[in-house]
């Protein structure tokens, strides 16, 4: 099958243009999601529940340790600011065929996925910060600006890592209709080993060592530990950043491979 030939060509990859498109998409999605604030509120409630329960439990175990409250308030903030929902915003498009619209646009499909992710996180942050502030005031915690600034790089990489992890799992929608179970399992690993059920420092030494290497601590517990002043010195910070970078590389490479294999299987059902 042949059709008329093109008259012009543009450069294929333009990073600045890509950033512009992500920014534009984010703005659109922020507007789009503004109409569903009540739904976003339920997401915030779900996100804060785990850290709040952890805080109540561990505060009862260590009532005199101020670290527990500081850690969990920071963790609460990190959780609402880095939640990812690609199993809904991306996988569902594969299931109902509406991803075809994205495939026909002259931009990588991931632009829309990232735009949606940032937009939802923006709304969750706006709604989650008051909850964190109230909790912080209630438990009388105090944070230092130096700790917050030191946590910024690990927070940014943690947010990226969380997105890469959930997006990678969501890509399994090309093969199975049970993507929500798969992402749910990933979320359980996050809670268990990321520092929500228990701060990593409270785990037995062997488990703690394994937890620091696995990707989940880098998504949640590490930024919270830095804010809580539990990570002392540059070396552990750089080690944490290094692990995060390695896992981002691993997950994003896996995501690219899954995308390439999955898109060949895509049969555009119902579209």
């Amino acid at each position: 099958m042949t059709m008329p030939a093109a008259s012009y060509r543009r450069p294929a990859f333009r990073p600045r243009r890509l950033l512009q498109m992500i920014s534009l998409r984010t703005r659109m999605e922020v507007l789009e999601w503004s109409g569903t604030w009540w739904f976003l509120l339920t997401l915030v409630v779900q996100a804060v529940l785990g850290p709040l329960i952890g805080m109540f439990v561990w505060s009862a175990v260590y009532p005199a340790d101020p670290y527990v409250a500081t850690y969990y308030v920071a963790l609460l903030l990190v959780t609402v600011m880095t939640e990812s929902f690609e199993q809904f915003t991306f996988s569902e498009k594969i299931y109902d065929g509406t991803i075809s619209h994205d495939l026909l646009r002259p931009q990588p499909v991931i632009v829309n996925t990232i735009g949606t992710n940032i937009a939802i996180r923006t709304w969750l942050t706006i709604m989650g910060v008051p909850v964190a502030l109230l909790t912080g005031i209630a438990f009388g915690i105090s944070l230092t600006w130096t700790a917050i600034l030191a946590a910024l790089p690990v927070f940014v990489l943690g947010a990226t890592l969380n997105f890469c992890w959930i997006f990678m799992l969501s890509l399994t929608a090309f093969w199975t209709e049970r993507v929500h179970s798969i992402v749910g399992f990933g979320w359980t690993l996050n809670s268990l080993l990321g520092g929500t059920i228990a701060p990593l420092v409270f785990l037995p030494e062997r488990l703690r060592d394994i937890g620091q290497i696995l990707p989940f601590y880098g998504m949640l517990g590490l930024p919270a530990d830095v804010v809580a002043g539990r990570v002392h010195g540059l070396e552990p910070l750089l080690t944490g950043l290094g692990y995060q970078a390695v896992w981002i590389t691993v997950f994003s490479t896996a995501a690219v491979l899954l995308w390439r294999a999955g898109i060949r299987r895509y049969t555009v059902v119902g579209a």
Partner: protein
């Protein structure tokens, strides 16, 4: 293009067995389909349900990766979905005329489209004015996409797709669900657009009036294979060896008319006769000489009848 579909027998035994030993069947969707379109051509791509029309369009637009064969559109391999390729095509589906954010207004979406396709501002304003006029969009611009009716969505979808002046348009059932006015507007608009911009158009539709009014050339596909590729009137001649003579002759003798051809309709002095194609000229001359004829016209058999025959019996 083949799909791999899982299969299994019924009952517990087969179900348990399939857990450990999954079986698949290769389902052919499009096979040996070969055709080429010249720039500026408007071609009807028709076939019965499940013939492979939409699958072919999805391959041509880059949505599907063909499992074998070669596809070139505008010099590109569509499945690679290169940005410069996607900027020059539009795939408009009657079943889903507009995608993306449904909360946004039509105007917001058009502006997003401008930035996405990098349409220069002056060109955008010119195109928008033209599309607003042609598609009667003025009342729709401030409304949210989700609140539009199907016909309005189709008009908005056309505007969104044509804002960047695509060189190739794939129209998949563009009049699906539209009322008479909506369908007529769509057909008129596509014809004008193709004429003004010399765009190449591939159109699928189950409504033969769409095909007859827009497409001089027809590609007929069935069971994934091209059955006919040629002019529409030649297909009609091939499949329908008869023409229809419609004449108004109030005083005509019915017996005389029955000798001229098969009488299909008769009412108030107007007759419709089915006459063999090669006898039309002679029969017409004889009737005009022998009868007092007030009006006479020679018509092709309705396209629906021709296409129905092609679907049922093949083109041969």
């Amino acid at each position: 293009m083949t799909y791999r579909a899982p299969i299994r027998g019924s009952g517990w035994k087969e179900t348990l067995s399939s857990v450990f030993n999954r079986q698949y069947r290769e389902v052919p969707a499009v096979q040996h389909a070969s055709f080429a379109l010249a720039p500026g051509e408007v071609v009807g791509f028709i076939g019965p349900n499940g013939a492979g029309k939409t699958t072919t369009m999805k391959i041509l637009s880059g949505l599907l990766h063909a499992t074998s064969g070669q596809v070139q559109v505008l010099g590109y391999s569509p499945w690679q979905r290169r940005s410069e390729f996607l900027r020059q095509i539009a795939f408009i589906r009657g079943s889903q005329p507009v995608g993306g954010s449904q909360e946004l207004t039509v105007l917001d979406t058009l502006q997003y489209q401008r930035l996405l396709y990098e349409v220069p501002p002056a060109e955008y304003r010119r195109n928008l004015d033209e599309l607003t006029e042609l598609l009667d969009l003025k009342e729709l611009l401030q409304r949210q996409l989700r609140a539009l009716s199907l016909g309005e969505k189709m008009r908005a979808g056309l505007a969104l797709s044509l804002l960047y002046r695509p060189a190739v348009m794939f129209l998949d059932e563009p009049t699906l669900g539209l009322d008479v006015t909506g369908a007529t507007t769509m057909r008129r608009f596509v014809a004008e657009y193709a004429e003004q911009t010399a765009a190449t158009v591939l159109l699928t539709s189950h409504y033969m009036v769409d095909v007859a009014s827009l497409c001089p050339r027809l590609v007929l596909i069935d069971k994934g294979q091209v059955q006919y590729d040629g002019k529409l009137d030649e297909l009609a001649a091939k499949l329908s060896p008869y023409k229809l003579l419609r004449l108004t002759a109030p005083n005509a003798d019915e017996e005389r008319l029955r000798r001229a051809g098969e009488v299909l309709e008769a009412s108030d002095g107007t007759w419709v006769l089915r006459v063999p194609r090669d006898a039309v000229a002679r029969t017409t001359a004889e009737l005009l000489t022998e009868l007092e004829v007030a009006d006479l016209s020679v018509e092709e058999a309705p396209l629906e009848v021709v296409i129905d025959r092609a679907y049922r019996e093949g083109v041969g």
